[in-house]
């Protein structure tokens, strides 16, 4: 059911964990539905210098989180906000139809973290 690319990201997740001294944090999903993604980022001068994820969820949830961190790392905040769930699905060479919501969650996690960074910046 999963592509080799999905299994690769599941078995060798990239950027798993929590960024030390993160200044952006976003958590999306809920345990009731069986998916929670948490992304932490270090954003300097509008560039995502570092990003890591922690995910409670199925194989697709882990793989979409993993690949999403690769896709936004080193990008500007504006570029990262252009990340769409379909780009995530494409990068994974496809997802089963019932797993598309996982890619939406990955997109939302990136947005939530950036939103959190903007809020923090506004408070300073």
């Amino acid at each position: 059911m999963y592509t080799e690319r999905v299994m690769d990201h599941f078995n060798n997740p990239r950027n798993m964990g929590e960024v030390e001294d993160y200044n952006a944090e976003g958590t999306v999903g809920n345990a009731k539905c069986g998916d929670i993604m948490r992304m932490t980022m270090r954003i300097e001068d509008g560039v995502i210098e570092d990003v890591k994820f922690k995910t409670f969820g199925c194989g697709a949830a882990v793989a979409t989180s993993s690949i999403a961190t690769e896709m936004v790392k080193g990008k500007t905040v504006e570029e990262a906000l252009k990340l769409t769930n379909s780009a995530v699905v494409e990068a994974l060479e496809g997802l089963p139809p019932q797993k598309i919501h996982c890619s939406v969650l990955a997109e939302e996690a990136v947005r939530a973290a950036i939103e959190n960074w903007r809020e923090r910046a506004g408070e300073e």
Partner: protein
Amino acid sequence: MFVYCDTAATTPLSKPAFEAMLPWLQTGYGNASSIYKMARDARRALEDARRMAASCLEVSHENLYFTSGGTEADNWAVKGAAELGGEARRHIVISAVEHHAVLHTAEYLKKKGHPVTILPVSGDGLLDPDTLRKALRPDTAVVSVIYANNEIGTLQPIAELARAVKETDGKILFHTDAVQAAGHIFVDITPDIDLLSVAAHKFGGPKGIGALYIRRGVKLPPLLHGGGHERGGRSGTENVAGAAGLAAALKFMTENRESFYKKTLASRDRLIDGILSAIPYSRLTGSREHRLPGSASFVFAAVEGESLVLQLDTLGVAASSGSACSSASLDPSHVLLAIGLSHEVAHGSLRLTIDHARTKDEMDFVIQSVKTAVERCRGMSPLWGGGAPLRMSGWE
């Protein structure tokens, strides 16, 4: 090492079953309903298989009908019994822990206007005969209760439940899905049981063949119409090789039932005890006492079941989960919710089901693999920290 722990999904074909099937695949391929010798030989093999299977189940061969499997047997039993009830009896009663083959059939009939009652079970997954008794109505047509649950292995007090139904109203038909139980334990087909489903591939037979026991005197209308095979009960060219395989597999299991039971139980108990002691925040689901010998099922805090199954696959263990992720909905299995687990907890389910062929060393390997897989998942989980689950209801 690779250890197969998914016998509730399907089992390998046993040697006696394989050997019994071979003659009817290439040389003895005649249609059992034709009249020449080759066909008569096939017919004889089919009827021998029926006799053998019936004798293992301790029922008359005249009451055993071959089907394409457990799902067809369940569909036939529930839809047929509902139809037999006519206008006066349309009410259907099932337990909350039925297999989808019964649950979705009942839901289909509900859409067609049949009132359906789904009975709650205890935290162990057991249906109380009094709960069943109280749910019966003057218009109840059929009651269907699973003999042994496929996800949590809980064994229902089927004889008692069937008795409760017949004491209340002898005209209500009682069906039980014995797909997980048959071959592995003694299935007691009491006179109160009208209909009982089995599937060959759950006890070392081939896929694509099952049987429905229909008590004498129950005129169940057919599900499949056609050439009038199976004495008009189930049309479709007879699966002679399949029937021979079913019968040989059931005979093999029945002849060795006690020794297989003991071996399976010893491995299963080693597995349950090992996992519960090696992994913190782990729980057995279903009854420890009223349980199939080969069934071990768990929930682990802060872990999602599908991820766990994929991790175990890379480690060399084939297992399954009742987590939501294999289905289109976001709901975990109806069985895990029925025994009172929260959604959060139910997502972390794992089912390990084994047969008599497993060894101690294999069980120790599985315990270690489950421990590693759970640790890997928890290491990735935002719901796990400092050696305990975070923000999870149901684990306080």
